[in-house]
Amino acid sequence: MSAQMPDVTYKTNPDIGQPYTRNDKACHDLSIRVRDLNLWYGKTQALKDLNIDLFQKNVTALIGPSGCGKSTFLRCLNRMNDLIPSVHTEGLVEIDGRDVNAAKMDEVALRRRVGMVFQKPNPFPKSIYENVAYAPRMHDLVSRKAEQDELVEKALRDAGLWNEVKDKLQEPGTSLSGGQQQRLCIARAIAVQPDVILMDEPTSALDPISTATIEDLMDKLKEQFTIITVTHNMQQAARIADYTAFFHLGEIIEYNDTKVMFSTPAQKKTEDYISGRYG
């Protein structure tokens, strides 16, 4: 079966009340292009012929039942799968016109432009300040202490954490609450000014209030960054995502404007999943 690019109905253009068209560059610059992506864990194929375009400065949610490959796909985008020895990847993942799997591509450079937030908050066991300042300093983004202070403050403000931690920047990052830790991780990710932020079920370990805070934050952050998030929670996808891709058994079943997909799913499987019949 040849891989087909899933049909996408574009988001509604508020000016004219009609969906954008493929040619409306204003909102739909491509950020990531994936073609015929296959991935194996040893002999088990986990991703099958994935084709998808991810749009800049939008939130794209990846949904699907456990084990459907959505997190695996997410990790393809910054090559975190390289850390798993048995993984073998084929196909094209293109970010900013460059193949990330090319031999020339340095994964350190890639990860500077494609940041990541993990399922469980994992701040470094260092101070709050150091958590944010570490990566920019490592990448030589700052040279003077004043610059560094400024950047830390900006990142923490963007992550909506500044007011809560400004008086205790030297305390360990692990002393914060779970929701605060996750926002610290987001601050850490945006401190290096990436283009894309990958979020792997960022709220699944958090309480509902912290979850709501993070969701609001994602809504703000998409003005600056392309956000791709994996979620188990369909309501969350409906609330925050501009686009949603439904994964099932390593394939993308449907990919569309979130509103379209949740109101009129094109595939039976999608409908069954979002109406809670399985997953």
């Binding site: 020895p85 500077r112 993990f118 994992n122």
Partner: protein
Amino acid sequence: MNDSFDQISQQLKGRHRKSMRLKYYSMGALALAAAFLLIFFADMLNKGLPAFKQAMINVEINYSEDAAKSGRAAVNRDFSTLISRSVVRTIPLEMRNDPTLLGTTVQRWVLASGEVDQYLKGNRVRLDDEEMERIDRLVETGKIEQQFNVGFFSRGDSKMAELAGIMSAVVGTVMTMIVTLAIAFPIGVMTAIYLEEFAPDNRLTQLIEININNLAAIPSILFGLLGLAIFINFFGVPRSTPLVGGMTLALMTLPVIIISTRTALRSVPESIRHAAFGVGCSRWQVVKDHVLPLAMPGIMTGSIIGLAQAMGETAPLIIVGMVAFIPDVTASFTEAATVMPAQVFTWANEPDHAFVEKTAGGILVLLAVLISLNASAVLLRKKFERRW
């Protein structure tokens, strides 16, 4: 029909009895082990503590012209047999070094002979009744008394029991351990980092891993043979020296450090590595900035324990010639030296009864050092261990 509580309790009686019995067995085992330890310590203290005391005798030393020729002439004939030969022997030397001493008379405390020392400590001696009587009298008048044995901690080995000290062995041990640590720590830690953080999981690394684990179980004397064959015979490293001893012990300590470092690295949560890779760290940056600092307490504890093990080791050092008679404190890494357990071994082989207490005293010093090393390992772990 369901059983009532009483019926169930009835059935449980046997099981409870069994678990009680097992509990008492294990308590008994613990008590036995503790008793052995207690007996050992009591015996060591009983035998070893006298070594920290030494009989001294207060005599008048007359730096006459005769004394410059024979030290014996400097002291009253009555005392000469009670004074350590070492004192008498050094008097002409003293006078040669300081000519102004000639013609003066000094009253001072000097080492009593080993026989006097042993007599005061109530051990069997080869003194006749007359001498014993004289000693008793001198003790009564305060001319002979037991003082704290400073010499035991400040002097090297000697064939005269009253003169033998553990200092040269302590210095030898310190120097040997410096060499061991300088070799085994960096090599061990870097090996562990490579195997744990960089190496692919293939047959070769598995083979290396198995071999390292086996290395830790090899009888230590074989490392001594290896040291003899490779370091001394092949590379020509001078024998009996802290250098060759340290190198040999480093071989023995390496697997301990590698294994404990790997355990420490493995206990660093994977999420920390992911976080570091996620912000674009290179592999080395992940290790250096994030994994190593977290693993450091574990690495240090393992290394200290490995070092303590090496410090108590005698067999491989015998093979590389470190059971030498070292009267003077070793000054360089390429001079002959001895270490504490080897010194204990040497003293244990001395026929003179006075060396029994030296042996036990040496063991006490060695034990004190080892216990404080292990205690510092525990403290380090307590201080730095953090949980996530």
